[in-house]
Symmetry: C2
Subunit: 379 residues, 2 copies
């Protein structure tokens, strides 16, 4: 298996792009990554997108995006794994290089949600749950997360402790040029915001935004940032099927596999990007990655350990809550942010001396999860 290196990244600011098409966002982020990588071209494209079938009535986006990029002819593949699409697409792109099939792979995530009616977004999110069983009851994704959140509050933490996930993500987003909401938001404001689905307040949810993020992968030459480990895992789609509804086995299994491939354990991780689409999911992501014991994730978030000078900085550019969560692009933003850190290009967000960074990207109620581990190369 060939080792894989991240040669370049390209990020668009997450915001509402009312005047631009999904192809346009894809092409801009992709060209940035290709330019950053300094490669003449790429020989394979992965397109990560969750909801274009619903939001743009568009399938077959791999061909469409290759065309939009001015590269009709190239091999291209679209990956969809709910809001884990980005992390899964990155994993598949790593395999394309590792196998020797490709020598320069572009993997770009794109999603355009803001010029869609809000109820379509809610529908799309719930389409990642089983339609004949779970969604049939009328519950939304937020409703499912709310049940888990309530159980967590019953067992382990106070509402303000889980809610701190949002305050911290906002704090870390300040100054981030590609963040949708780069401003402080206090825990008091979060707790005073309306209930989205009790006990989840509106300000504990990631917002609706458009974005695109791109990465170029090449075979490793032992310089720059390498892919140390990359793994996917799944779980029962419905939380009602799981032996412990709060266990989130897909996160811990994917993490175990990715750490094993990287030859490390959670103690070696310098920083992490977790999937905080809701505050509770960010907390469970931290626990699933082994960065806190079960039931102690929220308490960890309330400490300075998760800040940029801390023991294990988390969501250093704002996470889904404050950088933004353009579904199919989110997992690629996470990887690109870790790359910025390991390169030393994170500016005011820089975590000093970071060697290993990990991303955790979940789809459905973590019925699928991708964990990718990056490391600073030896040279």
């Amino acid at each position: 298996m060939r080792n894989v290196k991240v040669a370049g990244i390209g990020l668009l600011k997450v915001k509402e792009y009312w005047d631009r098409s999904i192809q346009d966002l894809f092409a801009e982020a992709s060209l940035k990554a290709i330019s950053d990588a300094g490669v003449e071209t790429v020989d394979k494209i992965y397109v990560s997108n969750m909801s274009a079938a619903l939001m743009q009535n568009q399938l077959n986006t791999a061909a469409l995006m290759s065309d939009a990029l001015g590269k009709p002819g190239l091999p291209a593949t679209r990956i969809e794994a709910g809001s884990a699409s980005g992390g899964v697409a990155f994993h598949e792109a790593v395999q394309a290089i590792a196998s020797g099939f490709s020598n320069a792979v572009l993997v770009t995530g794109v999603e355009k949600m803001s010029d869609i009616l809000p109820d379509v977004v809610t529908t799309a999110l719930t389409m990642a749950e089983e339609q004949e069983y779970t969604a049939y009851t009328g519950i939304t994704k937020t409703g499912i997360a709310a049940m888990i959140h309530r159980l967590y509050l019953f067992l382990y933490a106070k509402p303000e402790e889980v809610g701190m996930m949002a305050e911290k993500s906002h704090e870390h987003a300040v100054g981030c040029k590609h963040a949708q909401y780069p401003f402080m938001m206090s825990i008091e404001r979060a707790m005073a915001s309306p209930m989205e689905a009790d006990p989840i307040h509106m300000m504990e949810c990631s917002g609706i935004g458009d974005g695109a993020a791109a990465i170029v992968l090449v075979p490793s030459d032992d310089t720059g940032v390498e892919v140390a480990g990359s793994a996917i895992a799944t779980d029962y789609t419905s939380i009602a099927q799981r032996s412990d509804p709060m266990a989130m086995d897909a996160i811990s299994k994917a993490a175990d596999r990715a750490y094993k491939m990287a030859g490390i354990n959670a103690n070696k991780v310098s920083l992490a990007e977790v999937h905080d689409d809701f505050t509770i999911n960010g907390v469970l992501g931290i626990e699933g990655l082994g960065l806190a014991k079960v039931g102690e994730g929220a308490k960890l978030v309330c400490t300075e350990d998760v800040d940029k000078g801390g023991r294990i900085p988390i969501n250093t550019f704002g996470g889904l809550k404050a950088r933004g969560n353009p579904l199919g692009a989110t997992g690629i933003y996470q990887v690109a942010e870790v790359v910025l850190q390991l390169r030393g290009d994170a500016g005011d967000h820089q975590v000093e001396g970071a060697k290993y960074g990990v991303t955790q990207n979940a789809g459905g109620m973590a019925s699928i999860c991708a964990v990718n581990v990056l490391r600073r190369a030896k040279k």
Copy 2:
């Protein structure tokens, strides 16, 4: 790069499954393939599906199907490339083995179309075209194919010659247990059927059906059926953008890449499965694979060369027209059928002495195409 072998296949009859879910079809085909392969389990799943977002309101099918198979936990990835989803998913599954990431991969295509209103199917097919440009005009996929068909008739052939693609596919389907329409259909009947989009008659179009087909891949041990070559290519999504609207560059590019990887040229191909969703597309598939010169594909189809005892047997189990075309499953059916031939398990359909078999699976108006080449191993 590790060589890859097809260890097992599983096929369901293409038909209308009114009483079964998409998960159920997926699981049955998958279990057949796992049983046929004689492996205890698999370590990665690829799900090929085009339209569940539209037809079942279901995203995140990789997790859902792993769960349905009783394998929650496994890494799983969903691929979508319009009606080329199956061929593209097979290509990605090959990479998973070739890279060393996986040692036994299940790739299953599934689509359930019959309990959906017909206009939703038409909409889904057109969703593989560009929505803001092509689909916006109101044209259907059949309408686009009709324009190409008319041009072909103007330049190269009579209506009956192109229409023979349908008669031949039906003739080859007779006796095929997994075919949706395993009966003869004469060219006279095709030409007397109503116009779907002039000059395409209804009986020149593949039908609506449900199906699932599965394959298990493992590292090659130089026995059985190996993957000799596997490639994808894309093209301008809109035919209006192409320098020659009839060139279908994605087919010929994917074929060239796959042949090169296999170390062969078109003359070495023993049999082929082409994407005859419309008769004209089957003809252009034959030409794109280099099995006939440009403009001579329809004339080839009118000869005995394409029959099982002929020079280059085509669509030996009935192709999309007669075996059936359950979109995301179609490309997997094609590969499985070639495997049956190369194993010598094709029964009445057997092509004697076949060494290399090729599949051609297109999405949109061939804006994406996967070509997979299989060979009988030396031992």
